[in-house]
Amino acid sequence: MYPFIARRLLATIPVLVIVAVLVFLLLRITPGDPAAILAGDAASTEQIEGIRKTLGLDQPLPVQFGIWALQMVQGDLGESYYYKVRVTQLIAQRIEATFSLALVTIVVAVLISVPLGVIAAWRFGGWFDRFLMGFSVFGFSVPVFIVGYLLVWLVSLKLGWLPVQGYKRIDAGLWPWIQHLVLPAITLSVIYIALIARVTRASVLEALGEDYIRTARAKGLPESKVLVKHALANAAVPIATVIGIGIALLIGGVVVTESVYAIPGLGRLTVDAVLARDFPTIQGLILFFSLIYVGVNLLVDLSYVVFDPRIRY
């Protein structure tokens, strides 16, 4: 198993290098002088010259990439010209809110969508199945911010059950933290539930057609055990895969959701950085999010060994 983990880790390196090259080129394919863009609209000529020196922008492109990549590998994402602090510090300040939101969303989404998918597959073609498939298409189609504003309007403004916007850190108490996360997490989980439920249904449906299910039923196993221990267990690999792939949707959703609920997290930071044309921060955030995405999918790949003992590497 260890050689497999090592090989899988090595395989992510080329992907990360390509991501780094793409993020690096993003600024270089922009019309205009990268030093002037990085310095921002209000910079003096000396400041621009200073940036040109430190980033080696007078050097050939591969050398520039080398300098930049070396900084990134050392965990230095540069300095935000808008906030005037290190980008790593900006990310550290805002990661708690985003991480809380993402974690609650994933937990909520998996706990809801997997049982729904199993039931739909079990009652294939029935009203529940059709309802879930309908919801799933709807979940893919309704924009995240519409769900968000609908919930704010209904639950917070009309019913007054929950606070409208904002975020409370977890050290301010568990209850306020949960109160502020309920609506954003529901908002964000709609598309995720649609995705996971669909894949769960399809893979459980496939498993239910196998011979071992008939055997399990024939030997008199209760239906719940057949569904969970035999059908769901054998459908675990595609479900884990889609949870990993869905992280990309989740990151996109975080950007929108944090904007709707005024949560001071990484998603809000991304939008603010784009509006301020704060390029070091944009670059740093894209790299950071991509690293998380690649990392989660690496973990998902490694989890196959646990879920499916047949897989040997």
Binding site: P14, V15, L16, I18, V19, V21, L22, V23, L26, L27, I29, T30, P31, V137, F138, F140, S141, V142, P143, V144, F145, I146, Y149, L150, V152, W153, L157, R198, V199, A202, A248, L249, I251, G252, V255, V256, S259, T270, V271, V274, L275, R277, F279, I282, L285, I286, F289, S290, Y293, V294
Partner: protein, 312 residues
């Protein structure tokens, strides 16, 4: 006189009316309920987009200081650029600048549909090019697909936001920024199809006859990828419409003077507590449009490319 094939099939299908062996793919598509529902809604939306000036709208960019923040259904007046005062009924109310939201929503249909269709076409075109190249020119395969993996490792909205930020938003840059993150999925699909199709006997036959590579690619392989590509293009159009609205909503998309659903909603955020309809009305249009495109895509997938249902 020998009976024609169609007669024989007709005789066979007496017992099982649902089996229609001579049915072409196009007929199967037209019979599909999802295709019909999605298609009808989209035709209606296309009609709205085309007929926008004749649907009781005023210039969607025109604002009237005297008719700000009106509730839906309010009657009022608007001062046109010619200095004329016209009576106008604000079906969906007006925004904080005194622009007619009904007119903006109706004209917004044009932008959304245009962005959806063009972004889908752009990403299909570039994706097909990359996929065919990777599938047929093996020496380019490795590097090209690694680049695609790299693009896929960055969440789509982030790529779109970053590109728009770099280029400053306009219709062209927004469409390209939305299309680029979709290219890898098209390229992967085309590549995998090419790798299967190139092993088919008829490709082997063409190769043995000395047909040049580009002729095999365009004449034998590309036609076989059309059905799955139509399906994928539909789904890309749906997500392109969504992403365009998200970009505008976040304030990084098309310039605010262009009436798009996202821009109307972005404007409506300021006064959301008093006037929630500024967000909900364009939101309903947006949801119905994306839903219609997705339902159409589901129907096309089931009829044109049943294998893809398993692939997803």
């Amino acid at each position: 006189m020998a009976a024609t094939d169609a007669d024989r099939y007709a005789a066979l299908s007496v017992e099982s009316a649902d089996v229609r062996p001579q049915e072409t793919a196009w007929q199967r598509v037209r019979r599909n309920l999802s295709v019909r529902i999605g298609g009808v809604v989209l035709v209606l939306l296309l009609a709205v987009a085309a007929l926008a000036p004749w649907l009781g709208t005023v210039d969607p960019t025109m604002f009237d200081a005297g008719s700000r923040d009106l509730p839906p259904g309010a009657k009022g007046e608007m001062l046109t650029l010619d200095g004329e005062v016209i009576k106008h009924r604000f079906h969906f109310g007006s925004d904080s600048l005194g622009r007619d939201i009904y007119s903006r929503v109706i004209y917004g249909t044009r932008v959304s549909l245009f962005v959806g269709v063009v972004a889908a076409l752009v990403s299909l075109l570039l994706g097909v090019f990359c996929g065919l190249t990777a599938g047929y020119l093996r020496w380019l395969d490795g590097i090209l697909m690694r680049v695609m993996d790299g693009i896929m490792a960055i969440p789509a909205i982030l790529i779109a936001i970053a590109l728009v930020a770099m280029w400053r938003a306009s219709l062209v840059t927004v469409i390209i920024a939305i299309a680029i993150p979709e290219i890898p999925r098209v390229a992967r699909l085309v590549r995998s199809l090419v790798l299967t199709i190139r092993e088919e006997p008829y490709v082997e036959a063409a190769t043995s006859l000395g047909t040049p590579t580009w002729k095999i690619m365009l004449g034998h392989i590309l036609p076989n990828t059309i059905a799955p590509l139509v399906v994928m293009g539909t789904f890309i159009a749906a997500s392109a419409i969504l992403i365009e609205a998200i970009l505008s909503f976040l304030g990084v998309g098309l310039p605010p003077d262009i009436p798009t659903w996202g821009n109307i909603m972005a404007e409506g955020r300021i006064a959301f507590v008093q006037f929630p309809h500024n967000i909900f009305i364009p939101g309903i249009f947006l949801t119905i449009t994306v839903l219609a495109v997705n339902i159409l895509g589901d129907g096309l997938r089931d009829t044109l490319d049943p294998k893809m249902a398993k692939r997803i």
